[in-house]
């Protein structure tokens, strides 16, 4: 039995228009429309072509409906930079992540969600303080933000290769918060993104329309205030620092030197003039694209690593999970890329990293 919505999902996952898919498999656009509306079911040879062109097993198109992720529910970072195809692809990947999440939830008990939802109108600085207070974090640096999110019940997945221009996105699926991170950015960048998405979850949970610049700015302020709480920063930040002092000072906060400079300026520890001077120097030394030492190691997922380690011990393979979910193993690997190691291989005993060379070459910015 053909499930039309799954064709739409798979097509969007690959960032294709109906026309694009039609051209790939040599049918009319009208036919694709008919397949997706349920007016017609594709003949076996067309289904085979679709399956090959889109890289989903034929069984994928015959499984039950998957609820489509509406873009309204999602807070996209850098939305303006992103084309519709990429956005659709990211959302479709999210839908597949839900399927993986549900598969895991059926087998593992994970921490229950405990993320405060604050009323509209709460300013980001206050919101960050409230979340810190609720989570008993005091004013200290946060050693590992992904672990913190996970222990508070947020599920963290990786943004897949096709959507790498995207920094991160997040959403509430019912009462369950999700964060998707681009794990190909620097550790500092990705960590700041995670805090940014937490800001969206806390501040913008009530939004039901796509959010614009003000919401992005709020999430940004939240992230800075959450990672670098005002009182600690005011009490300990270097006064009138040189860039080298600033680089030294970023270490406990595990943020980029640029983020620390911005925060110090925001808190008025740095004057406009001083901040400008530092920004120019940061740019000149190339630190905007290449974070200076000490750099942090990328944060990884404890939940996913524990789950996959347990499955590996039981002899469960990546291919088996993929088969259950009717997707290619690569599709799953992409969802945990940089966050965890999946139980690759048929024997199930060999821990291995997702194969980077199975993806298109990295694009240099």
């Amino acid at each position: 039995m053909f499930t039309p919505s799954r064709l739409t999902l798979a097509r969007k996952r690959r960032g294709l228009t109906k026309k694009g898919l039609a051209e790939l498999i040599g049918v009319s656009t009208r036919s694709i429309t008919a397949f997706e509306s349920g007016e017609l079911a594709p003949k076996p040879d067309n289904l085979k072509k679709i399956s090959e062109a889109l890289g989903f097993p034929a069984s994928f198109f015959e499984a039950e409906d998957l609820p489509e992720l509406a873009s309204e529910a999602v807070s996209f970072r850098s939305l303006s930079k992103m084309g519709a195809a990429q956005r659709h692809s990211a959302l479709a990947a999210g839908t597949i992540a839900f399927a993986l999440h549900d598969w895991i939830s059926d087998r593992f008990k994970l921490p229950a969600p405990n993320v405060p939802k604050l009323g509209p109108g709460v300013d980001p600085e206050t919101a960050a303080q409230v979340v810190r207070a609720e989570w008993n974090l005091g004013e200290k640096p946060i050693p590992n933000l992904i672990h913190l999110l996970e222990v508070r019940g947020v599920r963290v997945f990786s943004i897949t290769q096709e959507c790498r221009e995207l920094d991160a996105y997040s959403l509430w699926r019912g009462d369950q918060p999700f964060v998707f991170l681009n794990t190909q950015k620097s550790g500092e960048h990705s960590r700041f993104d995670a805090a940014h998405e937490l800001g969206h979850l806390v501040l913008h949970w009530h939004h039901d329309v796509p959010q614009g610049r003000p919401a992005e700015q709020e999430a940004h302020q939240f992230a800075a205030a959450f990672l670098m709480p005002a009182q600690s920063i005011l009490a300990t930040a270097p006064r009138n620092p040189s860039l080298n002092q600033l680089i030294k000072a970023k270490k406990p906060w595990r943020v980029s030197v640029g983020a620390l400079a911005h925060r110090l300026h925001e808190l008025k520890v740095l004057s406009d003039w001083h901040y400008r001077t530092l920004c120019i120097e940061i740019g000149n030394r190339g630190y905007r694209t290449n974070e200076p030492e000490p750099r942090i190691d990328r944060e990884t997922s404890q939940v996913l690593n524990k789950v996959f380690a347990a499955l590996r011990r039981e002899g469960c393979t990546n291919a088996e999970i993929a088969r259950d979910l009717h997707v290619n193993p690569q599709e799953l690997e992409a969802l945990v890329f940089g966050l965890a190691i999946m139980p690759l291989g048929e024997s199930g005993g060999v821990p291995a990293r997702p194969k980077l060379n199975s993806y298109p070459p990295l694009e240099l910015a």
């Binding site: 222990v151 005011l234 002092q245 404890q302």
Partner: protein, 217 residues
């Protein structure tokens, strides 16, 4: 040889002495940081005296910002900038000290000679400390002459800021305060770097130590 100052340097002593003045350490530190931050914001292009003057002025501003809500009163009569406690018995002024400021074993002085208002305040301080003697003479001349004056004494170099809240006792012939009856001495504030955290240099695995519970069903 004059009697040495009573030092309040240990946290407990410091806090109980501050408490008697209606103050607390967190508040004083906030004031110190307020002035220090203003100093640090001064551009390297400013005249050399400007950072010190700025710090002095902004420390007064900071003290008023935190104390006015507690019913203290700013007072600038005779261009002598003070903040006076709600009962009128304590006044605080701000002054820059020499390099001995904040060091319990040393005897700090104000960096600059002080004017006639400071001299009058020091005189009242002395009379107030004489047991059983009413404050004579100055009582008619200066309203609020039952008020003892404390100096928020600051000294800042490239590496740290040292500060104390001290009750002046004696001035030299030029008007510098050279002796104190009480000194409440605070830990210095580090300027050039973050204070090192002892748990800061370990492996990432040691950091935080969050264990996310994941249970096989």
């Amino acid at each position: 040889m004059a009697e040495p100052a009573r030092n309040f340097e240990q946290p407990h002593d410091r806090n109980s002495r501050l408490f008697a003045l209606g103050l607390d350490e967190a508040l004083i530190e906030k004031v110190a940081l307020y002035g220090l931050m203003a100093r640090q914001r001064c551009s390297p292009l400013s005249p050399p005296a400007f950072p010190g003057t700025t710090q002095w002025a902004e420390t007064i501003v900071g003290a008023r910002l935190v104390l006015v809500p507690k019913n203290w009163t700013p007072d600038d009569s005779h261009n002598f900038s003070r903040i006076v406690s709600p009962d009128g018995r304590i006044a605080i002024i701000v002054a820059t000290g020499d390099e001995h400021t904040g060091i319990a074993t040393a005897e700090p002085r104000t960096k600059h000679p002080k004017g006639s208002e400071t001299a009058a305040a020091v005189e009242i301080n002395e009379q107030l400390s004489l047991p059983g003697l009413a404050v004579a003479g100055t009582a008619e001349r200066v309203p609020g002459s039952q008020c003892e004056t404390w100096v928020f004494l600051l000294s800042t170099n490239d590496f740290e800021m040292r500060y104390e809240l001290s009750r002046p006792k004696t001035q030299d012939s030029e008007g510098r305060v050279i002796a104190w009856s009480d000194r409440i001495i605070f830990p210095p504030i580090d300027i050039d770097s973050l204070p090192a955290r002892s748990d800061d240099d370990g492996d990432d695995d040691d950091l935080g130590g969050i264990d996310v519970p994941v249970e096989r069903i």
